[in-house]
């Protein structure tokens, strides 16, 4: 049995090594991906281009606009005349937020009936959410400051006294500076590895079938299980290599700290990559031609990306969507990667995900072998 597997391994490795160009793509691509994504994704939207229509141009309105710009969330993209011009700027996409201050602002503030209109572009979700939150918070803060200043002037409050009776402090665990990359990189590593693993094996069996070489393999004494292992082995090496390279890019280029145990991470990613390769193999055995494989693999990658918890938080999804998400190894590995890399916790905090991944590998391999046998008949 070992001799048979060995022979198969040699064949697969030779095939893999012979096609230099493909091998180069397989090794280089994940690195390029991680580098681009590391620079591309920023979830903290700052410096939102803002159109400002200040129709008062008095000290109060200046102070108000200054408070907005100083926050760093808004940049003055254009000073325009009126509300219509602000909306036009947002329509054109030149601005994504707008401030309209009506005439006579200073007097209105003294009468305590000043009104400001804030406009936010609702067609861009991240920007609109951040802008909405920031613009409301800053405006409220500004109003509170004005009010407290007046209370002090009127003698209702002694100046210097702590004004607000509750002081809420926010402590952010694991990532105190809220660096986007710290939580993005582990998820990206997981996502890229899954895509890579599925693509690596998805074409393997169906390709032999299309090329007709599968018949030659079948007349040898090799059993399906051995064939599957032989197909996975070289790709396992490539995937683990990918894991190391992209993790290195994340740690040394993007300077994301690795809080946990690297040995544990290596073992669990080995299991994860195995499950991804197994999934690709399953796709490959049930497809009739490479075109079908591609469509199915695409579907899996896209759905995995959406449901796995990398792009959208999983706890917000309805239950049935979460169950579908459980069909992808990515779903289990993202909490593992975040747990080890960002949180620095150990096996006892994540054993459910590890067990799930283990079961996944076994099930997927069994299904592949089954499907392969059925196809033979």
């Amino acid at each position: 049995m070992f001799r048979r597997i060995w022979a198969l391994l040699v064949k697969e490795f030779i095939q893999t090594l012979r096609d230099r160009r493909t091998l180069l793509i397989q090794i280089g691509l994940p690195i390029i991906q991680l580098t681009i994504f590391g620079y591309a994704i920023r979830m903290n939207v700052e410096h939102v281009p803002t159109a400002i229509a200040d129709q008062s141009l008095d000290p109060s309105s200046y102070a108000y606009v200054q408070a907005m710009v100083n926050s760093g969330y808004f940049d003055a993209a254009a000073y325009v005349a009126d509300q219509a011009a602000v909306i036009r700027a947002i329509d054109e996409g030149r601005a994504q937020a707008g401030i309209v201050i009506p005439p006579g602002f200073q007097a209105a503030v003294t009468r305590r009936e000043a009104q400001v209109l804030l406009l936010v572009d609702g067609s861009d979700v991240f920007t609109s959410q951040t802008a909405y939150r920031a613009i409301t918070a800053i405006a409220e803060q500004h109003a509170t400051e004005l009010m407290i200043a007046r209370l002090e002037r009127d003698g209702q409050l002694r100046s210097g006294e702590r004004i607000l009776p509750i002081d809420a402090r926010v402590r952010i665990l694991y990532n105190p500076n809220l660096d986007d990359l710290w939580f993005l990189i582990p998820g990206m590593v997981a996502t890229i590895l899954q895509t890579q693993a599925i693509t690596l094996t998805a074409a393997s069996v169906v390709r032999e079938r299309e090329a007709g070489t599968i018949e030659q393999l079948l007349v040898t004494p090799i059993v399906p299980g051995e064939l599957m292992l032989g197909k996975i082995a070289p790709n396992l090496v490539i995937s683990m290599f990918n894991m190391l390279t992209i993790l290195a890019v994340g740690l040394f280029w993007f300077r994301v700290p690795f809080q946990g145990d690297f040995g544990l991470f290596a073992w669990l990613s080995f299991m994860y990559v195995f499950s991804g390769l197994g999934l690709g193999l399953l796709v490959s055995t049930i497809s009739q031609n490479q075109k079908q494989t591609q469509q199915t693999a695409m579907l899996i990658m896209l759905v995995g990306l959406v449901l796995g918890g990398f792009m959208f938080p999983r706890y917000l999804q309805p239950a049935w969507v979460r169950i579908i998400g459980n069909l992808f190894p990515l779903t289990y590995f993202i909490p593992i990667a975040r747990g080890i890399v960002t949180k620095g916790v150990g096996l006892s905090y994540m054993w459910e995900h590890v067990v799930a991944l283990l079961i996944y590998v076994v099930v997927v391999m069994t299904l592949s072998i089954r499907a392969f046998r059925q196809k033979l008949d």
Partner: protein, 399 residues
């Protein structure tokens, strides 16, 4: 399959004799290639079903899965006072809708542990003697957030601060009142309007981009394998000995795919508008024409990939990469505005970048060509360049 001469070839050979009028000959050859492609497409039922069904499945999943408004964060609460003030504060947090009580624990260590385990994404610690501290004016509350989850941390941060501020203001008001003063109303009233999407529904934002992305994935996938497959199977030689010219072959391969993608476009758009109730503000005909332009550029890109790649495996690698780049760099989910110029430039090489702005402009904003012309022009240039490159590389490969 390799040995069976296809219909197109038979027609092609027969046609060689009657090669009189150039133009009509070209037309006939084109029709022959189109017939071959259509027959091949219809014959492989399973692939056809996959092609048509996948966008629908994706659309449903996306629509239900995409929820970017991180509210109802599972929260571990350590209330060490258990007095009226602390209860009122926790009540205010829960009523805000941003926090849900996941568990009540005893101290800060237990809160951190709950977040470590991933059971909670946020935690609140209220120290003992809260009510007395509030009376003295130096009460402190600690809010702990999970920094490994970007969504919850951002929403939780601003929500916690604003709840605390509101609560503090309320207490201040009652204090001033007791001192005999009168707390005035706020000097400035802010009204915030969210344009195009007043209730900030995620679906309204995601759906147009989703339709655009599914369309591109489909357009690229349907053509990406077409040429390289003929190479791998060796059938390209059989086509090359016919009088079919490269450009005729390419156009012939494109047209059946255009039909397929248009069907898909109509289905996904109607699903988005009628099933998910995403409002369509703009001009439907403008949308249709610009979509056709986009479909052509997507198909052209697929064709280019197909002529460059040597094996189907390579094609698959390239299309998978392209799909990932499309999801992240085109503004589909993540905003393009904060990206560095180089990354923006990479995004500019994907047709989806232009089309997403067009779709959002027409569907969500309801604006017209006057606002969109630069993206439309970019898309038209793109389609032209891609088609040209595909034709050139294809001809080179023949030599």
């Amino acid at each position: 399959m390799r040995t069976r001469p296809s219909n197109a070839m038979r027609r092609g050979r027969g046609e060689r004799r009657s090669r009189g009028v150039r133009h009509s000959g070209s037309m006939r050859r084109l029709v022959a290639v189109m017939r071959k492609e259509t027959i091949q497409r219809l014959r492989d039922r399973r692939t056809l079903i996959l092609i048509l069904a996948i966008p629908l499945v994706q659309m449903l999943l996306f629509a239900y899965a995409v929820d970017l408004t991180a509210d109802h964060l599972p929260t571990a609460i350590a209330d060490q006072s258990l007095d009226t003030e602390s209860r009122a504060f926790i009540e205010a947090l829960l009523v805000s809708g941003y926090f849900d009580a996941e568990s009540y624990v005893t101290d800060q260590a237990a809160v951190v542990r709950a977040i470590d385990e991933g059971r909670a994404l946020a935690g609140v610690v209220i120290p003992p003697d809260f009510a007395a501290a509030v009376e003295r004016g130096d009460a402190q509350v600690l809010v702990i957030l999970d920094g490994s989850d970007s969504f919850s941390v951002q929403a939780g941060y601003s929500a916690a601060l604003s709840v605390a501020q509101a609560r503090a203001l309320k207490l201040l008001a009652s204090k001033v009142q007791r001192m005999g003063g009168q707390l005035e109303s706020m000097p400035i009233q802010n009204a915030t309007h969210v344009l195009y999407n007043p209730s900030m529904k995620d679906l309204v934002f995601v759906m147009p981009g989703l339709i655009a992305m599914l369309l591109q994935v489909l357009a690229i996938n349907t053509t990406a394998q077409s040429v390289v497959r003929e190479y791998e199977l060796g059938t390209i030689e059989q086509i090359l000995v016919t009088p079919v010219r490269p450009i005729e072959l390419i156009v012939g391969k494109l047209i059946p795919n255009v039909a397929l993608v248009i069907v898909d476009q109509i289905v996904t758009t109607s699903l988005g508008v009628f099933w998910f109730g995403v409002p369509f503000h703009g001009n439907v005909w403008l949308f249709a024409w610009l979509s056709l332009l986009f479909i052509l550029s997507g198909l052209g890109l697929g064709l280019l990939i197909s002529t460059i790649a040597r094996t189907q495996k390579e094609t698959q690698q390239i299309t998978a990469l392209l799909m990932m780049l499309s999801q992240l760099l085109t503004g589909f989910i993540y905003p393009r505005q904060p990206m560095p110029p180089l990354v923006k430039a990479v995004g500019n090489m994907i047709p989806l970048t232009y089309y997403i702005r067009i779709v959002r402009g027409i569907v969500t904003k309801g604006i017209g060509l006057a606002f969109l012309w630069s993206d439309v022009a970019a898309l038209a240039v793109y389609a032209g360049i891609v088609m040209f490159l595909a034709a050139v590389t294809f001809r080179k490969r023949l030599d």
